[in-house]
Amino acid sequence: MSDDTKKGALSDVERIKSASQNLRGTLSESLLDDVTGAIAEDDTQLSKFHGIYQQDDRDSRAARRRQKLEPAFSFMIRARVPGGICTPAQWLAMDQLAQTHANGTLRLTTRQAFQFHGVIKRQLKETVAGINASLLDTLAACGDVNRNVMASPLAASAKVQKQVARWAQALSDHLTPATGAYHEIWLDGEKQPGPESTTPREPIYGDTYLPRKFKMGLVIPPVNDIDIYTQDLGFIAIVENDKLVGFNVSVGGGMGMAHGVRETYPMLGQVIGFVEPEALTAISEAVVTTQRDFGDRTNRKHARLKYTIDDRGIDWFAEQVQQRSGATLAPARPIQFTHRGDILGWLQDDAGEWHFGVNVENGRIKDLPEQQLMTGLRQIAKVHKGEFRLTANQNVIISGIDRLDKAHIEVLIDEYGLSAGASPLRANAMACVGFPTCGLAMAESERYLPSLIDELDDSLVSHGLEDEPMVIRMTGCPNGCARPYAAEIGLVGKSEGRYAVFLGGDSEGTRLNRLYRDNVPDSELRGLLDPLFAQYARDREPEEHFGDFLIRSGVVAPVVHGREIHEVTP
């Protein structure tokens, strides 16, 4: 096939979506096929829309091939948690499912969702049904649709935080696919009206959904805790006199790229104006439908909203949004972000409620000898009357602790080691899952980052930088799940034991980093960074962050447009 004929043709995923009868495909049949742990190939694309990724244990892949066994297939299930807020009962339900149906651990994602790993096919339906029974769901947790809507889990004003959380829930509901496939397949629901029905089956998305995934979030300045500029659509809360007056609208952020492919690049969102809260739903829908109609459906590596905007211009896009929504975009209001990290430990908000932020390394909830995260959080969930809030940095906040329960919960926190301190580097670190389950991984991520941080902390201590917060993120591939290009130190897997090192992002998440060294062996990472730490310790200005220092000192040239990220500073 020549490049020319290839160019105009829809991508294969488009064919699958189009033929799927609104995400049904042959998923029901695939679940009943008990001689394979996999689902049919086309169904592996459709299952994502239901929050389910087929994966296999890559550690045992080669051995099983020799054993004449298919790969050890299992599934990752993602449960949507709009705004990251769930009840103690929901926490307990997730905990229980992780024990009985998954690999015994829970993972908090970088988008404030829950993830189960290692669910085998014959347990899949029960797991999804169990998540639904808790009133969370998995629909649209992945796939070419609007995914889990993020929101700042804490704010200076408890009232504003609650308002924003409600918006997150409302927008999530509004953009949830309408297909009955989900109920039919997972919940033994009634069959929905067939194709002869005149009611549109997907009023917002249409039958082929979006060209690519779509991410949305709401943030409350001055903490950019959800990395608002990495979202396709970001709403930045404008608070005046303790009152939520509206949102600045940011569009076209997105992380994914391919190593060395210059046509692919991460972008940070651009603010196109301010809207009042009443316009939020209409604006969201307008952004989604514009992308639905103009996004590139021939090339999935050029299909995110960022490319649509880059190709057609931000003014054209803003005009589309205004036309479609009927809302007017007013000039953006001034805002200021100061940092991104979570507050760990005890905090009392302005309404007098207590919160406790628990550091969860790489979001993995499991028991270790020194820290029984899983058991501890379960015990707390049994007595806690408030909420659990999942953060975008893969931590969890025990929120709204009743004054009467505080002492009891404090005892549990100590008993299970939940207050165990972490260095500032570790507290803000993020890693994707990577090996062994992620099919995209090129290198270790979650299994490796903790030991790398041990080394880097050592180095930081030797330069007297141990109290300096620094944003470090690692992913096993360049698709960017842990938002590595918005980090001060981004480490992106290239092959087993080798990483591309990106430096020069800022601490607030308003500047992309830049490729610094390619293909660095893991054993040389500390050696590469140590001299930069030394220089930073010696030459930094007061309050200057590491990423900013690297730019000021000329070690790294700032990235103005995302496509510059591939160019190493001369």
């Binding site: 001689v35 394979t36 066994l69």
Partner: protein, 594 residues
């Protein structure tokens, strides 16, 4: 052949001989060459005498065989062939193909029959066995018979079917030519002796001695237990996943230069050395030195060598236990052998070394080897088709090991096989199983039921059918039932079945895993769940094959088949029975169970 070569026979005569020989099998040609050589050696008996001899009134009889594995067929055919060489007209017939009505007309009946499961006749023997059991059947006073019973002394009802045949024939008035002979797994030597005795009894008087003596053995074209082929190991791959409770091996052995030609459905017999640790344990239990010379048949060997390669150490048999009990006065031994004892269980739980350690007796090295049975071969269903590689044979071997009496116990052959490395050599010979063949018509649909390592021959079947499809353009539908403990680790050859399902060769693939859910699920459950489809396949002419465990699986599968035929065929009990009998008779329900 060049015409220029001078021959002592005239051209027309040679032509005649050539025409005659062209109709013969290789084996018949070999025999004829020996016959002619014998005549020549006898000193010029004219060729013309031969027809005269053949014209003499001859003894005629039928050698009936019935077995699940093909062993009795081998014995019966050998007997018929040897009889022919003596001028006896002996016909080897499968019991399934024999009409009981013929019994009243038979002069001589030679029965070779194995016993199955808990003293049951093999499938092929059932009809005749039942007919003989009818009390009001016609008298068989004219009939002279002999019975060779094949069995496995680890079963309580050792050789029961042979005993029953003997009893039933006698009850109907037939006369025994000689006492019944019972054989254990190492049946070859007693079977040969029985054949000689039978021939002695049947031989017409007087026999022209020189001819008999002059006939040389046909050249051995096949390998046997006494003359095994040394096959080298090419692949030994564990095919159960990590964490499996089972260790199942896929072995590939080279048959290069062996001349062995097998067909899907055949087995390969393996003579595997005993594990060295086991030999050591026997030596230390008896306090005997490994280098003590012992006499075995006509050779002298060090004791350790004899124990390793020539004597059975892992499978305890009744005769060995009897011989041991005769020199030990230990109570449990005599109890196990008594009617109250559970011999089956005792033989299963105990190996030779357990007797030696738990019930020690004073034994010389020679007495020890005399006490023990010769190392028995183990037959493994071949898991490959020669159409893929005729110089190679694949086996599927489950390593047997278990703890008993706080000591590890091994299956001798499976342990030896599991530990083979590429390049190692193994003593093997072909154990043909003509009863377990694909249908002659490649378009006949087949249903294969093979849980565990019972799936091995079906890999061979499907390889063969894939080849047939490639050459003929189409092939009958195929349906495989598999079962084991766990889906994730024990689905033997999973990727191959899935590949065949994807290519359409395998129309249906049904698998049950017993330990993946609270209630045990087995292949028979799948059969009944899909009973309507199963029955539709039968109606469409499908052949059913069952391979694997004889004790539980085969009867359970048989019961499920019976029920589904009755349910979906809407048949009465009698009609169902007749339906299944017809399936068996017509070769559409074949089993290779052990």
């Amino acid at each position: 052949m060049s015409a220029a070569v001078p021959t002592p026979i005239s051209d027309p005569a040679r032509e005649q001989l050539g025409q005659l020989a062209a109709q013969w099998s290789a084996q018949q040609q070999l025999w004829a060459s020996g016959y002619l050589a014998g005549l020549a050696a006898a000193g010029g008996a004219a060729l013309a005498d031969a027809p005269a001899q053949a014209a003499q009134p001859t003894v005629s009889g039928t050698v009936l065989y019935g077995s699940q594995t093909g062993n009795s067929q081998g014995v019966a055919e050998a007997l018929a062939a040897s009889g022919a060489s003596l001028g006896l007209k002996l016909r080897a017939v499968n019991m399934a193909d024999y009409s009981p009505a013929r019994l009243a007309k038979e002069q001589y009946l030679l029965v070779v029959v194995s016993t199955h499961g808990e003293g049951d006749p093999p499938d092929d023997a059932k009809e005749l066995f039942d007919a003989l059991g009818e009390t009001d059947g016609p008298s068989l006073k004219q009939l002279k018979y002999a019975v060779l019973a094949l069995g496995d002394s680890s079963y309580a009802q050792f050789c029961q079917t042979g005993r029953d045949f003997d009893e039933r024939l006698a009850a109907r008035g037939a006369t025994a030519l000689l006492p019944r002979v019972e054989c254990d797994l190492d049946y070859e030597t007693p079977a040969e002796a029985w054949q000689q005795e039978v021939l002695e009894q049947l031989r017409p008087e007087p026999v022209p001695g020189p001819v008999l003596r002059a006939v040389p053995d046909p050249a051995p074209v096949t390998f046997s237990r006494k003359n095994p082929f040394l096959a080298s190991v090419e692949v030994n791959q564990k095919i159960t996943g990590d964490g499996s409770g089972k260790d199942v091996r896929h072995l590939e052995l080279s048959l290069e230069n062996s001349g062995i030609r097998y067909q899907p459905g055949d087995s390969l017999a393996v003579l595997a050395d005993n594990p060295p640790e086991l030999v050591d344990r026997v030596l230390s239990a008896t306090g005997l030195a490994g280098d003590t010379p012992v006499q075995l048949d006509d050779q002298t060997l060090p004791l350790a060598e004899a124990l390793k390669s020539e004597r059975e150490l892992t499978r305890l048999s009744r005769p060995v236990l009897e011989r041991y009990a005769a020199i030990s006065d230990a109570e449990p031994l005599s109890l196990a052998l008594s009617p109250e004892g559970n011999l089956r269980e005792f033989l299963f739980d105990h190996q030779v070394v357990d007797l030696l350690t738990q019930y020690p007796v004073e034994l010389s090295a020679q007495a020890l080897v005399d006490l023990l049975a010769p190392l028995a071969h183990r037959a493994y269903s071949i898991a490959s088709s020669p159409t893929v590689d005729e110089e190679s044979v694949h086996l599927t071997v489950a390593r047997l090991n278990f703890e008993a009496f706080d000591e590890p116990h091994y299956g001798a052959a499976s342990t030896a096989l599991a530990e083979l490395k590429p390049g190692d050599e193994l003593r093997v010979f072909l154990d043909a199983n003509p009863r377990f063949r694909l249908p002659d018509n490649p378009e006949t649909p087949i249903i294969m039921i093979g849980p565990g390592t019972g799936v091995a021959p079906f890999r061979a079947f499907l390889q063969e059918r894939e080849q047939q499809r490639d050459t003929l353009g189409k092939v009958g539908e195929n349906w495989l039932f598999f079962g084991d403990r766990h889906f994730e680790t024990d689905f033997l050859y999973q990727i191959e079945w899935l590949r065949w399902r994807k290519s359409g060769l395998l129309s249906r693939l049904s698998a049950a895993f017993s330990r993946d859910q609270a209630e045990k699920r087995y292949v028979q459950h799948l059969m009944e769940e899909q009973g309507d489809t199963f029955f539709a396949w039968l109606v469409a002419g499908a052949c059913v094959y069952v391979c694997g465990d004889a004790e539980h699986m085969a009867p359970d599968v048989d019961a499920a088949l019976t029920r589904l035929v009755q349910t979906h065929g809407g048949l009465s009990d009698e009609e169902t029975e007749a339906y299944l009998a017809e399936l068996k008779r017509s070769g559409r329900y074949r089993r290779d169970v052990y």
